[in-house]
């Protein structure tokens, strides 16, 4: 694997405009190929479409009544893509937004996939707006051009003099105008008209929709209860199933007693596939009640059956610290080891973060209907990776993916959980329906989901830096010990990414790994960042903020510790490290300004953190107080300043940052999965605590005006908030929290000066 400054590890495949056009004009979908909209989609909410619908390209259909249907490739899970992406198409088309219908795109197809993810649709990594922006503009402009050329031909006037506005083509000379629907209905309408050249894109100063809030899709339905998720699927003849999953990966069923369950009311059968037992019943609660009457004796596997999260974490911290055992270089430049060896003053610290649970509110579920003759199947599922979903059901049912229809549902939260390659939450409905040949809805009760959850990997982190007399960092060494989910659970991406541990290591590098401007990273010319592989067998996966959350927690905490050691100001210190980037300096200074960074607060501490992520730049200030007796930290206010380039939907951007900050604070304050004897010890929201309303701070979001291309905001708040919180606690108490989450025990110990062992065992700060 390459280390150093020579380019990104992430393959950056940029489609040329010409490529897109070539493919775009060639693809003509008939409407029947478009997947049916979810029942909660606005297609069924008072927007009846009349008249024939004409496909202009892979993204746009126009009905002769003027209705414009725009398809959205990314999956909606609360982040607002179902609004933001179609807005980009509509903008370039000059469509009348009130006449726009949004429908999910087909689940596969080159026009819809993301080059970073081997051209699959993969709604992850805060990439939707950034990744599709240019493509959607081109498809929108192309649609506009087709309409203008057809109008010109009909009027027998030159194209050059025509204009478009609000779903109409206008001829200013004659005062004539024609609606898009009318044009699409013209005899001899030519879908290829005007497609010889690349379309011109709008000058951003003329944007009407981009940068202005439109009503989020499905807003009304989410407020009156009529919105539908896959868990709400209801089909004629449908049966329901509840399942028992093994207590951990690798355990085997030794014996099973299901006599009572089979006799239970409403139950039609108990089925088994490998180590999963399913009860099928008339309603889901009957299936659940019967499931509880089943006794299973498990045979525990040797390796996974002895897993212990505390041991793994301790070992990770130890391995991170053991610099004698080289890790895998992830990022490097200059000669960090040499400079560290020759330095008079080296400061080192250890940090750790624990396993966590995604916690989307809609329990994992799917409905599959294998048709009676076995030739076709339909799926209702909320998925971040529709291609994976199709492949999984095809493999299990033996039906060709071309004969499977996926109804892409809205998701009641996802946070990475619904992109898992195995698509485990879809498998049960697939095999049951393949057996029963009728629609089967499978819901995992919350306890089943906790049991074999895919977790945010725990990390052990070791950092050391050489500092000179003026307090400047002259060498940087960072080792992250964690289990990278890509290798363990994403076989296709592991190969496509040349075996880069991208999910675990993201955010630990000081270069533009994430597509950020290169100079937005700290200027650390002599540095070494290493991946220390942990291979425990615990199921891990990407969770909001991926590795960047734990890694930035460690980096940003360490920077403040260096400041404390050298008597530097955290703001000035970061500004100096970011001297190359005016944009980075701007977000930091603005955050200092709106949080009144220099103003002391009685009984409160302020903490600062900075990050770039998914191309965007963010500075975050948290204001906290603490109750030493209870060990509770109270976050009062959080200020974030973000530079994410051009803003598509301003209010939604604020919402994403609010939600992202809450998610990060929740991770940092209370979230911890523990594993004993291979088993996850938490089972529901009473013993896995996520942030509730009384702990939610006021969040102040400021956006820097920018005309740079748009970049991601879905996770960046999560990435930066925990570090700001830890730094605020240290500013308040003079004590450092190095183990995340900051449990009351740790807070009390830190506040009383008895820090838990291992958090800072050797500090050679003996300059």
């Amino acid at each position: 694997m390459p280390a150093g400054d020579s380019g990104n590890l992430v393959p950056s495949v940029v489609l040329s405009r010409r490529d897109l056009l070539k493919r775009g004009t060639g693809v003509v979908f008939s409407l029947t190929l478009l997947p049916a909209a979810g029942r909660g989609d606005d297609r069924l909410r008072g927007h009846p479409r009349r008249g024939a619908s004409v496909p202009l390209n892979a993204y746009v259909h126009i009905a002769t009544d003027g209705t414009v249907t725009i398809c959205c490739p990314s999956a909606e899970m609360g982040q607002g893509v179902l609004t933001a992406l179609p807005v980009i198409v509509a903008e370039e088309m000059d469509a009348d937004w009130s006449r726009v219908i949004v429908t999910p795109s087909p689940p596969v197809g080159d026009d819809y996939g993301d080059p970073l993810f081997i051209n699959l649709i993969f709604t992850v990594a805060s990439r939707s707006v950034a990744g599709y922006f240019e493509r959607l503009r081109i498809f929108g402009a192309q649609a506009r051009r087709t309409l203008v050329h057809n109008a010109a031909r009909n009027w027998n006037v030159p194209v050059a003099g025509l204009e478009t506005k609000m779903g109409q083509v206008l001829d200013p000379k004659s005062g004539r105008h024609m609606g898009y629907g009318e044009i699409a209905g013209l005899p001899g309408f030519d879908v290829n008209a005007g497609q010889a050249d690349a379309p011109e894109l709008k000058d951003p100063s003329r944007f009407q929709l981009i940068g202005r809030d439109v009503e989020p899709r499905n807003l009304a339905a989410k407020v009156d209860g009529s919105v539908r998720f896959s868990i709400d699927a209801s089909l004629p003849g449908m049966v329901h199933a509840a399942v028992i999953r093994p207590p951990f990966a690798g355990s085997r069923i030794k014996s099973i007693d299901d006599r009572d369950a089979r006799k239970a009311p409403g139950v039609s059968g108990v089925h088994r596939r490998d180590e999963t037992v399913a009860v099928v019943a008339r309603t889901w609660f009957e299936a659940l009640a019967a499931k509880r009457a089943i006794r299973v004796e498990w045979q525990h596997a040797d390796v996974t059956g002895s897993l212990d999260s505390q041991q793994i974490l301790d070992r990770s911290i130890r391995d991170a610290r053991d610099t004698a055992a080289p890790g895998i270089p992830w990022d490097g430049a200059g000669d960090a080891p040499g400079r560290l060896a020759g330095s008079h003053r080296v400061i080192e610290r250890e940090y750790s973060t624990e396993y966590m649970y995604h916690g989307g509110m809609e329990p994992m579920n799917a409905t599959v209907h294998v048709h009676e003759d076995g030739s076709r199947a339909e799926i209702w599922a909320g998925t971040q990776a529709p291609g994976y979903t199709l492949d999984t059901v095809a493999r299990i049912t033996g039906i060709d993916a071309a004969n499977i229809t996926l109804h892409r549902s809205l998701m009641g939260g996802a946070f990475g959980r619904r992109s898992v390659h195995a698509m485990d939450f879809v498998q049960d409905a697939a095999w049951l329906s393949a057996q029963l040949r009728k629609p089967v809805k499978v819901i995992w009760d919350r306890e089943e989901d906790f049991k074999l959850a895919y977790l945010r990997p725990a990390t052990g982190q070791y950092l050391r830096a050489a500092v000179d007399e003026s307090g400047r960092v002259t060498a940087w060494h960072h080792r992250v010990a964690c289990e990278d989910p890509v290798k363990a659970h994403e076989p296709l991406l592991w190969e496509a990414w040349q075996q880069a541990p991208l999910i675990g290591m993201l955010g630990s590098e000081h270069r533009a790994e994430d597509g950020s401007p290169f100079d937005a990273a700290y200027d650390l010319p002599d540095r070494l960042v290493e991946y220390v592989a942990v291979e425990s067998g615990i199921r891990v996966y990407a969770m909001r903020g991926v590795g960047a959350m734990p890694n930035k927690f460690a980096i940003e905490s360490f920077l403040d510790e260096l400041c404390a050691e050298t008597g530097s100001d955290p703001l000035a210190f970061r500004l100096q490290l970011l001297h190359r980037s005016a944009r980075a300096q701007q977000v930091l200074q603005k955050a200092a300004e709106i949080s009144q960074w220099g103003r002391r607060r009685e009984g409160r501490g302020l903490g600062l953190a900075y990050s770039h992520y998914a191309g965007s730049l963010i500075a975050c200030v948290a204001e906290v107080s603490t109750d030493h007796r209870s060990g509770q930290i109270r976050v009062h206010d959080v200020w974030v300043v973000v530079d994410c380039g051009l803003v598509i939907q301003p209010d939604n951007l604020v919402a994403q940052l609010e939600g992202g900050v809450i998610y990060g604070l929740s991770n940092a304050l209370t979230e911890r999965i523990t594993i004993e004897n291979g088993m996850i010890m938490q089972s529901n929201f009473h013993d896995y605590q996520m942030m509730r309303i009384s702990s939610a701070p006021e969040i102040h979001v400021h956006t820097v005006h920018s005309t740079a291309p748009p970049t991601g905001v879905g996770e960046i708040g999560t990435v930066v908030a925990p570090a700001a919180l830890a730094n605020a606690f240290a500013a308040l108490t003079g004590r450092r929290l190095r183990r995340l989450p900051f449990t009351p025990e740790q807070v009390r110990a830190a506040a009383s000066g008895n820090e838990p062992s291992g958090s800072n065992r050797h500090d050679p700060a003996a300059g």
């Binding site: 539908r228 329901h240 309603t283 509110m361 939260g413 946070f415 509730r692 939610a696």
Partner: protein
């Protein structure tokens, strides 16, 4: 047969008496706006009103609801125009939307008790409703706005 009164209509259900109201609503009556999140009254996604009080329908057996009036998100207002639904739209509270039926039902019960709730009263009443998207800041704002709208609406009536 168990009679269940929901949104002003009576349903006679052939159903086990220990069936939670949540599943009677979702699978028997066809009102899926009330959501399943945890099944143990720990997340609030299933919140409905029982004679006007907010309850967690996932742990409320239908036998305990007999003879009482259940109101779900579908029955909160005739056409989605309860002041809370209006304020939820104006503040643009929902992200994924999954927990919002429960949030609104809890808030509606709160406003019945406290017409102008303080932040502390909001926190107490809403503490049982999880939102993983993190819409809490906006939920607070929307409850205050609805209280204002109700107060000024009432003033206009008088």
């Amino acid at each position: 047969m168990i009679p269940l009164r929901v949104n002003g209509r009576t349903w006679n259900l052939d159903i086990a008496p220990d069936t939670p109201v949540l599943w009677a609503l979702r699978d028997h009556i066809g009102l899926p706006g009330t959501r399943y999140g945890c099944g143990v009254a720990a997340c609030g996604a299933c919140t409905v009103h029982l004679d006007g009080d907010a309850v967690r329908s996932c742990v409320l057996p239908v036998s305990a609801a007999a003879g009482k009036e259940i109101t779900t998100i579908e029955g909160l207002s005739a056409s989605g125009d309860h002041p809370l639904q209006e304020s939820w739209r104006r503040v643009r509270v929902p992200q994924c939307g999954y927990c919002q039926s429960g949030q609104i039902m809890s808030a509606a019960a709160l406003l019945r008790k406290h017409r102008q709730p303080t932040d502390e009263q909001i926190d107490t009443a809403m503490e049982g409703n999880l939102c993983r998207c993190g819409t809490y800041v906006r939920i607070r704002k929307a409850i205050h706005l609805a209280a204002q709208m109700m107060a000024s609406g009432k003033a206009a009536d008088e």
